[in-house]
């Protein structure tokens, strides 16, 4: 089944000088953007995509994947140093990383983050390379009925995991649902919510919408919280006088091997399920590790296990996310969705036929991913102190420059000034959602999944002729629907019970 020639020539394609230069550049750009508070890696990808128009497909994809990988590592830096996550997925890293830095061990914390991130990313890439090809053969089994069941499953898992308040999380998702219905409906091509504007016929642009809701709203939030004359600088001094406090030994890394391994599994599974992302993986892994530990009270005080659990899991998602993308054509998260648009621009349709039609490119891409992992490790080792300097750039400069970049990104990526207006409107909407505690992640994920859900409903109804007993001929769909029911029954209430239990323990501790 494996065509060795194809694999070798694909990998060899990845090893060209041009490619390696672009991978290095991508990793550096990703790390800088990830390390800059307020700049999201999604935005970096969105801005980088038009740059790749002129490149050949493999170089373009290698570059984008490197930016994504760089961003995941860079994102941990501001979380650890100033408690401001550079990227949403590193938000859980701040929980233990920042306390460790405050204890005077910032470099040690950064290195812990880097090593576990490298482990998670590399391992999940290897899992992707080994399992994605056989998965591609199975992917053809996923017809409209099966995809519909998968979408239902994705929605139930999201509703169980996103946000503190179930009501607010569901409201945000419903809002995503609503905005996704703008444009021509997939069954009869009649316009919905277009108000006579032709620009709205194809719906709201995903890139513009995500730049606005995720990146620009974060910048607005930052600007509102900045006061005149305030200087932004890392509150922690980086001292590397004590070797003990600035280095991580092999023994220290290996001490958390079980935590890291479990985080890898969580990250890979969550990454392979479309719609869930690094942020969820990071928090889920963190909370499971904390709950299963004998000494949960140590978490939050600078425990390396906290960093290991989060960074391994959120980095494992980066590789695993490509499993549904490469095999089913379903983007696992926004970064993968942006990767889809980049592939399409180069005339490549991600999906079950990708391995068949673009095998050499896919294996080239795998090669590039492996190279990018090592570049990521090397560059981060070398430049850690520099990233800390980027953090201390004045906010007045960073925010203004970033806003301009966001607008340019929306303008270039999607349809001109109209997309820029969408981004601005979504920035305000996103800011308000943030202020009132509505999950922007639930909103965006719902926005991305809805068109697929709607199309599958229409197709499934036509294919089964509206006869629900036809489901008997779709065993995969039945299995997925059973899983959805199980996730509603077990994940939702059980999560709440655990939370309550945790609150009780926390209360007991205070009393004691």
């Amino acid at each position: 089944m494996f065509d060795l020639d194809l694999i070798i020539s694909g990998l060899a394609n990845a090893m060209t000088l041009t490619n390696i230069c672009y991978i290095l550049a991508g990793v550096v750009i990703g790390q800088i953007v990830g390390a800059t508070p307020g700049l999201s890696i999604i935005m970096a990808l969105a801005i980088a995509i038009p740059i790749t128009f002129a490149l050949d497909p493999l170089t373009a994809i290698s570059f984008l994947i490197s930016v994504n990988k760089g961003g995941t590592v860079g994102g941990a830096v501001p979380s650890i140093l100033i408690n401001v996550p550079g990227t949403p997925e590193s938000a859980a890293t701040a929980l233990d990383g920042h306390p460790m830095a405050k204890k005077g061990k910032p470099l040690k914390a950064l290195k812990y983050g880097l090593y576990y991130s490298f482990f998670g990313d590399l391992s999940s890439d290897i899992i992707l390379i080994l399992i994605a090809a056989p998965l591609a053969v199975l992917a053809l089994q996923m017809g409209p009925v099966e995809i519909l069941a998968l979408m239902i499953l994705a929605f139930t898992v999201i509703s169980g995991l996103v946000g503190n308040s179930m009501i607010k999380g569901l409201t945000a998702a419903a809002f995503g649902f609503l905005l996704a219905s703008v444009g021509l409906d997939p069954a009869t091509a009649s316009p919905r919510f277009t108000f006579g504007m032709l620009d709205l016929y194809d719906g709201l642009h995903l890139t513009a919408l995500s730049i606005g809701a995720l990146a620009m709203s974060e910048l607005l939030h930052g600007m509102v919280n900045t006061r005149r004359g305030e200087k932004s600088a890392a509150s922690i001094k980086i001292n590397s006088k004590s070797k003990e406090d600035s280095h991580v030994s092999w023994a220290e890394v290996l001490a958390n091997k079980f935590v890291a391994f479990r985080a890898l599994i969580i990250g890979t599974i969550i990454g392979a399920i479309p719609g869930l992302g690094s942020t969820t993986a990071g928090f889920l892994s963190y909370s499971i590790t904390k709950q299963s530990a004998k000494d949960p009270e140590k978490f939050g005080t600078g425990d390396p296990r906290g960093i290991a659990a989060t960074e391994t899991a959120n980095s494992a998602v980066v590789g695993a996310n490509l499993i549904p993308l490469l095999t089913l054509g379903i983007p696992g998260n926004i970064a993968a969705a942006l990767l889809v648009s980049a592939l399409m621009i180069h005339g490549i349709q991600p999906g079950p036929l990708l391995f068949e039609e673009q095998g050499e490119l896919v294996y080239g891409m795998f090669g590039a991913m492996l190279i990018a992992n090592f570049c990521n490790l090397g560059i981060a080792q070398f430049c850690m102190r520099f990233w800390a300097k980027v953090i201390s750039a004045p906010k007045t400069v960073v925010f203004a420059a970033a806003l301009l970049l966001c607008l340019t990104g929306a303008y270039v990526a999607d349809g001109g000034t109209f997309a820029a207006f969408i981004a601005i409107i979504m920035a305000v909407v996103g800011y308000l959602m943030r202020m009132f505690g509505y999950s922007i992640v639930a909103f965006i994920v719902a926005f991305i999944l809805t068109p697929q859900l709607e199309e599958s409903i229409i197709q499934a109804r036509l294919i089964t002729d509206g006869d629900i007993t036809m489901l008997v001929y779709h065993p995969i769909a039945i299995a997925l629907l059973v899983l959805s029911v199980a996730s509603v029954v077990f994940l939702g209430p059980r999560g709440n019970r655990k939370k309550k239990a945790k609150n009780v323990t926390a209360g007991d501790e205070k009393n004691a």
Partner: protein, 318 residues
């Protein structure tokens, strides 16, 4: 086999044709044209078929005529956003629209928000013709249109995944002609429609070019060719017309300017486009895209759109 001969031979033919044609075809343009850079306004996003054709045409226009030509993407409503905007351009001929049959012959009858028809524009010609085909996965109990229709009759219904409205109209017309239940399954993009056909989730699919490599690999069978002539990759398969239907679905990429463009400039642009589509570099690219580098010319395009618009106006009125 056949197409590999075509690929080797076509540059030779094209070069000969080009050498013969160039003196006669050298575009006659007003002395002061162009009065600035020329924009090719593409009605689809960067990366699609129409976009790649426009980019090729832009670079060849630049080479052959010495003009400065750039490509602008104005995606939305199957080229409707671009065409609506193009009406506002002045008469200097510096804005050229690049759209599809859907942009000009289907859009005006599909939506109230489109305020133009094909008559509001002047046509330079066409750049590419797509070979539409009704195809299915190999190993099905049917391998041509008659057998497929019989299968649908026996089973009571058959499903056909379609990636665009014009394909859907074609399926409905076939069903009506034979009096069988063919159910078009609307799918976002032809690639997903192809995936569903290969996975055996639908009984057939209508495809533009994506299925050609599958047919070569023996994984799919062409049941009927929807264009007016047989496809080079499936020479045995009959067209709908040969099957007795008065129906041919042709898809073209069309170059156009607003009606009010200066007539001398219109002639100049038409001739310049003809020079592009006859160059060997251009025909080579078309071969790679599995399509024909057909240029209907200014008058041919207008009469094609007249007939096609009438067909879709009637089909969509129902």
């Amino acid at each position: 086999m056949f197409s590999s001969i075509m690929k080797k031979a076509s540059p030779v033919f094209a070069t000969v044709a080009c050498a013969l044609a160039t003196p006669a075809l050298a575009a006659t343009c007003p002395a002061d044209f162009p009065d600035g850079p020329i924009a090719l306004k593409v009605g689809f996003s960067a990366g699609g078929g129409t976009d790649s054709v426009a980019r090729k045409a832009a670079s060849l226009l630049q080479q052959q005529q010495g003009w400065t030509v750039y490509v602008e993407n104005h995606p939305g409503a199957s080229g409707g956003v671009m065409a609506k905007g193009l009406l506002k351009a002045d008469s200097k001929g510096l804005s050229i629209g690049v759209g599809s049959t859907t942009t000009l012959a289907i859009n005006p009858y599909k939506s109230k928000d489109i305020n133009y028809t094909y008559q509001d524009f002047n046509y330079m010609g066409t750049g590419m013709m797509l070979n539409y085909g009704l195809t299915t996965k190999s190993g099905k109990p049917y391998s041509n249109l008659e057998e497929f229709v019989e299968y649908a009759r026996d089973k009571g219904r058959a499903t056909v995944s379609v990636g665009s409205l014009s394909y859907e109209i074609a399926v409905r017309n076939i069903a009506k002609h034979y009096g069988v239940r063919l159910i078009p399954i609307p799918t976002k993009g032809s690639s997903r429609a192809l995936k569903d056909a290969l996975g055996g989730h639908v009984d057939a699919t209508v495809q533009g070019t994506a299925h050609v490599s599958q047919i070569r690999a023996g994984k799919m069978v062409q049941l009927a060719t929807l264009t007016s002539e047989r496809a080079t990759y499936a020479p045995e398969t009959k067209t709908l017309i040969e099957n007795g239907l008065d129906l041919a679905i042709d898809g073209h990429i069309i170059f156009f300017t607003p009606k009010h463009t200066d007539s001398q400039i219109q002639t100049c642009l038409t001739e310049a486009l003809a020079e592009v589509t006859e160059s060997s570099e251009y025909t080579d690219m078309m071969n790679k895209l599995q399509a024909a580098a057909s240029n209907l010319g200014a008058e041919g395009t207008t009469s094609y759109l007249q007939a096609t618009s009438k067909f879709y106006q009637e089909a969509l009125a129902k």
